[in-house]
């Protein structure tokens, strides 16, 4: 049999083979109505997401830079200054450091409180009681993730704050109360991601560990957790980024003081709480309004840092 070209194989009346699409790029795009409709919906959804992220960043940047460009606040004194008296008619000061510090302190303390419990829960779910873990613990944790933050705030208000007041004196509204409430709040998020990352550790490693005389505990502690390493860290940092952005629950228990806290038992404030508390009392374009936008910009930038760290850890996890 002769091996013919495409033209030989197709009937002469149809000209070129159907296999070859002669249409232009645009022609192909609009070829079939249903195809193009699906494409338009999906492409525009993706585009919308990107536009939203860029728009939010741009908007916040423009608004956040106003206080430095238009109002001529000094950027350095803004982020390092410890005095926040924007409402003084004579010589108002904008020192945002107490809030940056408060945000970071709440975040790290919350992570410190949540991490051991979350990893413990994850080990229980993924390694010890696998059936029970997936059938009972997983739904419980999903419920905990779904509880609105105001409920966590209320619990903090009615349990944590009185407890601290009784045992440590003061009002009970302080930094550690905020960290505690947020720590409990991010606990389920961290636990469920950590459990997923433990489940992703291949069984062959557990078998290898048992085969060399490892006990269950040794296997978990020396083999499974180190093997899950970077993705466990990702879980923690994801929890931290959630803690960092939380406003409502923190605001209810932290005491909202504008001074730099001297200890974890001092009332304090965070970037988010100061924005939610003050924004309603300002007029657009006023100095305080601009300064609050600047706080928002700082918040966004630090959130980006968290995301970059998560991406970096994810990449490192893949390459290993």
């Amino acid at each position: 049999m002769k091996v013919g070209s495409l033209n030989d194989a197709a009937p002469a009346s149809e000209g070129k083979s159907k296999l070859i699409n002669e249409k232009s790029f645009f022609g192909r795009f609009t070829d079939r109505a249903s195809e193009s409709r699906g494409k338009v919906i999906i492409y525009s959804s993706a585009l919308l997401m990107i536009v939203a992220v860029v728009a939010i960043t741009l908007f916040l940047t423009i608004q956040g830079l106003r206080s430095f460009v238009v109002d001529h606040l000094n950027f350095w004194t803004f982020i390092t200054g410890t005095e926040w008296y924007p409402d003084r008619t004579k010589n108002p000061t904008f020192g945002a450091f107490p809030f940056i510090f408060g945000s970071l302190a709440v975040t790290f303390l919350a992570a410190l409180i949540a991490t051991p419990i979350a990893i413990g829960t994850a080990v229980f779910m993924a390694e010890i009681a696998k059936k029970w873990g997936t059938k009972v613990m997983q739904p419980v944790i999903e419920i905990l993730v779904g509880i609105p933050s105001v409920v966590y705030g209320l619990i903090g208000l009615s349990i944590v704050v009185p407890f601290l007041r009784q045992h440590f004196g003061g009002t009970g509204f302080n930094l550690i109360a905020g960290a505690f409430v947020v720590g409990i709040m991010i606990l389920p998020t961290v636990a469920s991601i950590a459990a997923d990352s433990l489940r992703a550790v291949p069984d062959s490693l557990r078998q290898a560990s048992f085969a060399i005389g490892g006990t269950k505990w040794q296997t978990i502690w020396r083999v499974v957790i180190p093997a899950a390493g970077s993705s466990l860290l990702t879980a923690i940092i994801l929890g931290m980024s959630r803690a960092f952005g939380e406003a409502l629950a923190v605001q209810m228990v932290i005491g909202n003081a504008r001074d730099l806290p001297k200890s974890i038992l001092d009332p304090s404030a965070t970037l988010t709480t100061i924005i939610t508390l003050s924004m309603g009392h300002t007029t657009t374009g006023s100095l305080l309004n601009d300064a609050l936008w600047s706080l928002g910009l700082i918040l966004l930038l630090i959130s980006y840092v968290f995301i970059v760290i998560i991406r970096f850890l994810g990449k490192r996890g893949e390459s290993r």
Partner: protein, 272 residues
Amino acid sequence: MMIQMENNIVTFANNNTVNKEMPIQINVEHVDIYYGDNHAVKDVNLPIHEKSITALIGPSGCGKSTFIRTINRMNDLIPSARCEGTISYKDVNILNPKVDVVQLRKEIGMVFQQPNPFPKSISENIQLPLRFAGVRNKKTLRKATEDCLKQVGLWDEVKDRLDRSATSLSGGQQQRLCIARALALKPDVILLDEPTSALDPVSSSKIEELLLELKNSYTIIIVTHNMQQAARIADFTAFFYQGELVEFGETRKLFTNPEKKSTSDYISGRFG
């Protein structure tokens, strides 16, 4: 003494070292293994001789892997697996529920089909079993690392990069590392579950040579689907078929003069 089969497939390079006088180290009597309702291994009786290589051969799904994983109780990890009968080792029935499986696995090591080094450094891979056993002394650990790597012929290849990740090694090197890791606790018996089936021919033959050396100090049981491999290295061979131990004997005899028809059918490649 070299015997070659007519079709040139099987070469016995090892039978001059067959040692019938070697005492029995592990004795398997009437062992039945079930996965739920599935009767995977049926009434197996088998002696394992000390300091010799015993190969378990048979087609896929014949129960040979299930059986080898019972010897160090790895099947405990499968909830539905159940095991009856007696496997005596050091006057103890391994299948007794009271047996300390952690100690048992220190004395009966295992190497798996897929090389499974820990995602840690090369030296940590060798040292982890010792750390599990409570060894803390740095000098002892370093010495053991060197000894084990030398035993598997990996020392010269990796001595300059002991701190590098074990996953950076080639497949064959990883498998030799896994063997070295199994040697770290100086076990009596080493179980190998198709250790070369994921490797290229050169790496496989290196492992075979290694096993022939190791049998001077250890009892070796190897599952293989490669009959030539069994013929090349094993002193004794057991042929499993559909969960039953069809035939067991000296490798040379089993391959040249099998008693059962299904054995001769399998080794001549008529099925499998």
